[in-house]
């Protein structure tokens, strides 16, 4: 019996060849993306493209070779990033990006390990891992794209959904307060905490480049529009209108107290680099304290 199957991954050989031979394709950043995987699945007006571009721009500016970068992502729309980047990436199960990245960062301290995931993945189902990753000060860069809902499954209420916001599981408004992510990351022990919106790509690129130089657990929250899941029920308009809202309502205050960075429905968005401090990371403490002690004891025994 003859059966027709479509190709498992739509693959455009011509554009792939062009990207490889000429060093560029249709887009200046194509060499960082897996040939044949574009177009992506994100909705029109989604902020994820901006965040992905800023990350690529940051590694490009820093001149970090792709071989030294790893991206680990969880499940959800943001989780798709791992599938699009043409580098070593890992798409974990729901909420488990940080545990996987922790193992990676401990075994290969020479790599720049970036965790790319959404608010639902990092703060609900994987919330425990985030606070303990920050407490241990593992050398990880976490980029959390916050769209205030579970976009991929159809716009359900999540851990960042503001009070009174409408979602598919809170059609009469949400009764639970959402997390203030920078405050939580700071309280858990992150050494670098920033928040930007997709209206601030330059600042975001700068922030990501800063985190590459930082030893320890860094956290950047990026507020991103989700016109399909969150924008529509809350009457925020199209992706462009949400960008306009970010332009009008965001206030940049570097060094501001993250406890004041709470977000309300259609309220003001405090942006900036809130925290940038030094604290020995896990490996440093471990090597200086535990390993040094153990080696000292061995020496004592030998003598």
């Amino acid at each position: 019996m003859k059966r027709h199957f479509r190709d498992i991954v739509p693959f455009d050989q011509d554009s792939a060849d062009r990207a490889i031979e000429e060093g560029h394709g249709l887009h200046p950043l194509d060499e960082y993306l897996k040939p044949g995987r574009i177009p992506h699945i994100w909705c029109p007006g989604c902020g994820l493209g901006v965040v992905l571009t800023t990350y690529i721009e940051a590694i490009r500016r820093k001149g970090i070779p792709v071989d030294k970068c790893v991206v680990v992502s969880g499940i959800g729309c943001t989780g798709r990033v791992a599938g699009y980047l043409d580098m070593d990436t890992y798409h974990t199960t729901h909420g488990r990006a940080i545990p996987f990245a922790t193992g990676l960062a401990l075994v290969r301290p020479d790599l720049h390990v970036t965790v790319f995931s959404g608010d639902g993945d990092l703060f609900a189902i994987g919330g425990n891992h985030l606070i303990h990753g920050a407490r241990r000060n593992i050398n990880l860069n976490v980029i959390c794209v916050n769209n205030f809902n579970y976009g991929m499954t159809g716009g359900q209420a999540g851990p960042t959904t503001p009070v009174d916001a409408r979602t598919s599981t809170t059609p009469m408004g949400n009764a639970e307060p959402g997390f203030n992510l920078p405050h939580l990351a700071h309280a858990s022990g992150a050494v670098y905490v920033a928040r930007w919106t997709t209206f601030h790509p330059r600042q975001l690129v700068h922030s990501i480049t800063e985190t590459f130089d930082k030893k320890g657990f860094t956290f950047i929250e990026v507020i991103a529009p989700c016109p399909t899941g969150y924008g529509r029920p809350n009457k925020l308009g199209s992706g462009l209108e949400e960008m306009r809202y970010y332009k009008e309502m965001s206030e940049v205050r570097n060094g501001a107290d993250p406890s004041k960075a709470e977000i309300r429905l259609k309220g003001k968005i405090l942006c900036g680099t809130f925290i940038n401090v030094e604290r020995p990371d896990f490996l440093e403490t471990y090597n200086n304290l535990v390993i040094a002690k153990a080696q000292g004891r061995d020496k004592g025994k030998a003598a």
């Binding site: 729901h94 189902i125 159809g154 059609p171």
Partner: protein, 387 residues
């Protein structure tokens, strides 16, 4: 009987739960289950259903909330699929061993990796031994009716066990099917209010979930097994009552054109409808083929299966999951074990198909029967693999 109305199966399942007057809904979003829970949240928010809707932070928490509410004596429902079921598995085993009645709709979906949102039975087979009553539904009406059936059986003081209703993801959850709906009166007459036998109550203090030392653990396991096996008469009784009420008769093992059949196909879930079309085609072609539908997966209907398969020469079992590195796929293993001691036993072939959302058409079923009868030379055969 009543008028048939078209409705998406997920929405209908949620409507059935609302007619059952559930007290607590706790769930986490996962495809392809979301419409069920979304519709329940809508009913709660609109004031049509007086229940607590808990949008928890993971499936592990969803099942934990359900255990808490069932222990407090509330009528409880949740729904999940694949990775969600895997994450809640720890508590799934606890719910049944603690004899907490609740209903869970599992929108069957393939387990990762590779990541797949599409349908097969690998998630249900993962928790095969969890000690729940497990039913596989064939169509939308089936799912709708079994929500009522599930609560009635699970909450019966002779049973006190959670009930898992399996419905194929997308194939059932996302289609609009013609269904006959129940009225509030029917639901009330069929389903008495939940009167928990053991529950957490400030006036009568009990400890639940305490340690089972080696002196008592085995006894508890046996008690659980006995309870699950003894639920069978109650399950049948509830099906009889459902037939009286609605005119639709369900049973643990159902037959389709099995009279005089030399070859029997055995399937579970929505694949049964596909296989029945294949049986029609093959019967028209003069082949003596029939279909046995296995609806009740746990407690396993030993007597009915032995009786159903006794006269056949060949049985082709259509499995929708792989027991990697094992003897055969889960359903076939079970059937082979059940038939082993029979004086005349058919040859039992294992055909694995429909993994990770791969379509299975009536032609595929006929092909599989032909291939099995011609002999695949293997303990099990994964159908339609390319390359």
């Amino acid at each position: 009987m009543g008028k048939k109305v078209g409705m998406e199966v997920s929405i209908a399942a949620a409507e059935a739960a609302a007619l059952c007057d559930v007290d607590v809904v706790a769930a986490y979003p996962i495809t392809p289950q979301t419409h069920i829970v979304e519709h329940l949240s809508e009913l709660v928010a609109n004031g049509h259903l007086d229940a607590e809707f808990v949008p928890v932070e993971s499936e592990h928490s969803a099942m934990s909330v359900c255990c808490g509410s069932a222990a407090a004596g509330a009528r409880t429902i949740t729904s999940t699929a694949a990775q969600g079921l895997a994450l809640m598995a720890e508590i799934v085993f606890i719910a049944s061993a603690m004899r907490l009645p609740m209903v869970m709709l599992v929108a069957n979906r393939a387990l990762s990796a590779p990541l797949s949102i599409w349908n097969d039975h690998s998630d249900a087979m993962m928790v095969r031994d969890c000690g729940w009553i497990q039913v596989f539904c064939e169509n939308g009406q089936d799912v709708y009716d079994h929500v009522f059936h599930g609560f009635r059986v699970g909450e019966d003081p002779r049973v006190l066990l959670p009930v898992m209703i399996n419905l194929d993801g997308f194939i059932l959850t996302h289609v609009i099917e013609p269904m006959e709906f129940w009225t509030k009166e029917m639901a009330k007459s069929y389903l008495p209010p939940f009167k928990p036998v053991y529950r957490l109550h400030p006036d009568k203090v009990v400890s639940m979930g305490a340690f089972g030392m080696p002196e008592i653990y085995a006894e508890q396991k046996m008690a659980h097994d006995v309870a699950l096996r003894n639920s069978r008469p109650v399950i049948d009784e509830a099906w009889d009552e459902l037939a009286r009420l609605t005119g639709r008769r369900y049973s643990a093992v159902e037959h389709y054109k099995t009279d005089g059949a030399e070859t029997l196909i055995l399937a579970m879930g929505s694949l049964c409808e596909t296989a029945s079309l294949a049986v029609d085609q093959m019967r028209d072609g003069g082949k003596k083929v029939g279909l046995v539908k296995l609806r009740l997966w746990r407690p396993f209907p030993f007597a009915e299966i032995r009786q159903a398969l006794a006269g056949a020469k060949d049985v082709v079992v259509l499995d929708r999951s792989v027991s990697t590195g094992g003897g055969s796929a889960p359903v076939t293993s079970e059937i082979r074990a059940v038939m082993y001691h029979e004086p005349s036993r058919p040859k039992i072939h294992c055909m694995i198909a429909g993994l990770g959302g791969r379509d299975v058409t009536p032609d595929d079923v006929s092909n599989m029967v032909d291939m099995a009868l011609a002999g695949t030379g293997a303990e099990y055969y994964i159908y339609g693999v390319r390359g």
